[in-house]
Amino acid sequence: MQIFTIAIAVALGILIAWAIITKRMTWLEKIKSNFNTQAWVLIPIAIAINIAVGQIVLVLRLPVYLDSIGTVLVAVLCGPWAGALTGALSNIIWGIAIDPGALPWWPVAAMIGYMAGRMAQWGFFKSWWRVVVTGFVIALTAAVVGTPIAVYLFGGITASGSSFITAYLLETGRGIWESVLSTNFIAEPVDKITTAMVAFAIILGLPKRTIGGYPKPHQVEVEGGADRSQLYIAIGVIVLLVLFAAFMLRNILGG
């Protein structure tokens, strides 16, 4: 637990320092630069994609949800604030139209969009292996943001299937925060890395002319090079990330 508190504090420190150093534009202008008419039109379609793809994946009975592909698409093409808005509205509309139980999770969805947009801004959406890293970072963010909601609102055990892992960890005598956080760290990465990779595949397939109409087309200028070797590097990165995650988990569970 110690290590994690320190890691989160360091990450927050870097974010704040970055915000102060690069404060050239006012916040409002930065937010506004995320939206043009084409972005506003993309957002409802992206939300519908989130929900429809979520339903398709349900049919395939895979251990992933893939219900934030649209959010990641908007975040990458339009910017972090547009991504955050898409994520939040996705859950709110999911709540309005299909299942009111999805409502309380909107901060998680918003943070997924925000983080995807930031990673794209830093150039992490231009080749396969970078996209994998983006997916991993999104997963960590989602895990951290989701934990307090699960603990305060649901007392740790939510209605999702991964709660059985939480239950197991609680039964072996771990604290509630530790159990929920480790469950999220186990469940999220697979889902979010796949999401990021599917979003990247979609962007690769879109015509350049369409991408040019969105606010941030330069973020997805795919870096050239042999596609095949790129994919191998991506697989290598996945293996490294899995090892890293296993190491972190052992640290939380051991400490």
Partner: protein, 259 residues
């Protein structure tokens, strides 16, 4: 997945006639009180004496109970069982079965938590049953919500049913071409691409056309827009909202005072 996309049911009742913002305040007040109150029975009493009677006032009780039994109760029951078995509080076991055990404290804790969730979800369900989404959006836009937000929510609600119908068509079409969606996990994972691809590309093509169309209708115009449909906001609405805010503040201060 039901064929109707919004929960809204058109009836004439005093709950339907309330201003949408008042109803939203009511829902949020119910949720905040249920979660913040230190008193153990607060969420239970709120369910019995606030949410359920309100469903009768709104004349949507049948639909309300149907939604509750289908969506809310299964989740709440699951939460109750899991938490009473696994929440690590209390000393004496009142129930034991191999490694499963429940203490009196954990059962009480789980019961309150489940009822809190019931209050949260059912209050929102009640709101959605008695408020049309476009009515809410019109009212909020009049109060200063940017029109773009209203556009996003209303047009998503329109696109969503089409999109879900389209995804069903794609699943059937690809299956009839021999796409494997049932066998091993690897094959099913491989089926993501031919199912998601057509859906996503098909809908992204429309974006540019739509953008031009709404731009031509003054979407980004900064002038004040007028509305054909006026939503009433009576003095009763205003005082009810004030009263609800007062109740929430009272709960929070009681909470601070007692701790």
């Amino acid at each position: 997945m039901q064929e109707r996309l919004s929960f809204y049911i058109h009836r004439d009742s005093s709950l339907h006639r309330l201003n949408p913002l008042t109803k939203l305040t009511l829902v949020l007040a119910l949720i905040l009180v249920a979660f913040l109150s230190k008193w153990y029975w607060a969420p239970h009493l709120l369910t019995l004496f606030a949410v359920v009677p309100l469903s009768f006032v709104g004349r949507v009780s049948r639909e309300f109970f149907w939604t509750a039994s289908r969506l809310i109760l299964p989740t709440a029951t699951f939460l109750f069982v899991m938490q009473s078995l696994f929440h690590p509080i209390g000393e004496e076991n009142i129930f034991e079965f191999y490694f499963l055990s429940a203490t009196q404290e954990s059962v009480l804790y789980a019961f309150r938590n489940a009822v809190r969730i019931i209050v949260m979800v059912s209050a929102f369900t009640l709101f959605l049953l008695t408020t049309h989404p476009s009515e809410l959006m019109t009212d909020l836009t009049r109060r200063g919500l940017p029109g773009q937000f209203a556009y996003v929510i209303i047009s998503t609600l329109q696109i969503l049913p089409q999109m879900i119908a389209k995804s069903q068509t794609i699943i059937s079409a690809q299956r009839s071409r021999g796409l494997d969606t049932e066998s091993s996990a690897l094959k099913r994972a491989g089926a993501i691409v031919p199912l998601v691809g057509p859906l996503v590309f098909g809908s992204l093509v429309e974006v540019e056309e739509r953008a031009i169309a709404i731009e031509a209708r003054g979407f980004t115009s900064k002038n004040k827009k007028t509305s054909l449909h006026e939503i009433p906001d009576t003095s009763f609405d205003k005082s009810l909202r004030l009263g609800l805010v007062f109740v929430v503040i009272l709960t929070i201060s009681l909470n601070l005072w007692l701790s």
